[in-house]
Amino acid sequence: MTQHFPALIIVIPLLAAILTPLIGPLNRRLCYPWLVLSIGLTGCLAIALMAQVIMSGPISYNMGNWAPPWGIEYRIDQLNALLMVLITGAGFLGSIYSGPSFAKELPDQLTTATTLYLLMICGLLGIVITGDLFNIFVFLEIASLSGYGLLACGSPDAPLATFRYIIMGTIGASCYLLGVGYLYISTGSLNLADLHNLLPGLYHSRVILTAGALMLIGISLKMALFPLHAWLPEAYYEAPSAVSGVVAPLYTKVGGYLMIRIMYNLFEPRFFTEIVPLTSLLSWVAIIALLIGSIYAIAQKDLKKMLCYSVIAQVGYIVLGIALANRAGFTSSILTMINEVCTKSCIFLATGAIIYRIGNSRIDNLQHLFRRMPYTMLAFTIGAFSMIGVPPTCGFFSKLYLLFGCIAGGHWTFIAALLISTILNVIYFFRVIKVACFEDPKPDYGRTEAYPEIEVEEVPAAMLIPILIAASSIVITGLGSHWIVANLINPMIPVGF
């Protein structure tokens, strides 16, 4: 039984998604426990797999018992074991949260939304677990298509934003597919580990160069790296709260994971650092991304849209860590992914809770929020501290490693840019905290009777508990970052760093 966990982790959400349209019409109230149960089960499998990988090294599973270079291989090492736990973790919190949230925002589409939610988790898990390049494309499209469906369920303007995302996302996936095709005609293999051994002899071929470029461009489109980010803010802003609380933390990070796989596991690190010196270009792009993202975030008047731009800035941090191509940079990029998943799910879910109570998320309307929703705002503040990089949160350690990486590479300009971006983070988060904590609403001079007492009106427990769990996970991953680096990141550092 244990040896089939890698297949089951995909099969359970997929099967649950197929069964949902049969369960939903029987009784709509069954959808919610069904969603939580199946994602919880998948999460248990992910944790079991991670424990297995930490204790006894990487697992290779042959799908349908076909040997690797020909059949599809599911390969689980420390990196994707970690990502699977993050995906199922954020998915589980989002599924608990989705109960009251879907009931308020999508009461008529409960069955459809549940199905798509399960398919999305299945697709995301598939992207990280598989060791076959074409299989990655298929799962990428499963995840994206269900994501399009969920995002389009949001506000009345959501379909337009989603349509743009569909066009951009499809170009990205097509570029990736074309790159895989070029690798296939040069080597005749689609298996990641097999290609890693076959490619070094062909490193000076222009076909391989084009393939690498196409795949990276495709992934950059999917992860909204700076010049290709235009689709993201609108699409995530218009989405339903529970959906943006899962999509925003996960999709761009899975893109970052694919970038690591392509740059350092498919190719050897020397291909992108020496033969094609792409890493220096990529690190400048990342620097611009993290500055532009933060500047745009400051310019927003709406909390949720501000956070969407913050996602773009964080993609910059992840890519900078990858492009530094040294030990500390690599460590920081993975720590940033962990931090981002915990923090963004905390902050986006908290923002969803604010929208649930107030009706919108304009920053001007947030007065007295610390007194009205103390626990939500406490979680929000912890998340904001982690984005800024206050110790002991995980964000502090990811930024610390990033600074070490810049120092090791001798990039002093990057250090300056990182410090500036930290200050920008402080500005845009404290603007929100200032309004929510210290400001009073505009006085109404025509009013004669006394203002009503400010009462605590928290969101339902099913929404509050995931927010608090996500907030505590930020601190726990921060305090446990030494353990994470030693057990999950150090074994994954590519040879030659």
Binding site: F137, E141, P156, T162, I166, T170, I171, G181, Y184
Partner: protein, 135 residues
């Protein structure tokens, strides 16, 4: 000289041309349906590319195994059969492309219901005027 170069790799030229037609439609057309069709052409170009790389000229077979299942069956030499793998991969890619088109069409219906037009310029105008009036 150049003609030989073009003719010897004509399948690649074709797929690049088709792909650029798709890209042009996505970039330049203002109608959302035309953008969607452009996206479809873009995907089809890649499917054609994959299908064309499996082709071999000369005396080649389609099946990999000759003879019925059982003792007489025999795997033939790799040089003597068409590579079926790109074609099989493309079956999946076609399904993906159809699903994408389906989702995009459904989204377009929602857009039409909200704005009563599918022209991007008009939609942007309507959106702006609605934001100004606060509807």
């Amino acid at each position: 000289m150049i003609l030989d170069f073009i003719i010897s790799k004509y399948n690649f030229w074709l797929y690049v041309i088709i792909m650029m037609i798709g890209l042009y439609a996505m970039l330049a057309k203002r109608n959302l349906v035309k953008k969607l069709i452009g996206m479809n052409i873009f995907q089809t170009a890649i499917i054609l590319f994959y299908v064309s790389i499996g082709v071999k000229k000369g005396n080649v077979n389609v099946p990999i195994i000759v003879g019925s299942h059982g003792h007489e069956s025999q795997i033939i030499h790799a040089a003597d059969y068409l590579n079926p793998l790109p074609h099989v991969l493309m079956l999946t890619a076609i399904v993906v492309s159809i699903a994408t088109t389906g989702v995009a069409l459904a989204v377009l219906i929602q857009i039409y219901r909200r704005y009563h037009t599918l022209d991007e310029d008009e939609i942007i105008q309507i959106k702006q005027s609605r934001q100004e009036t606060g509807v």
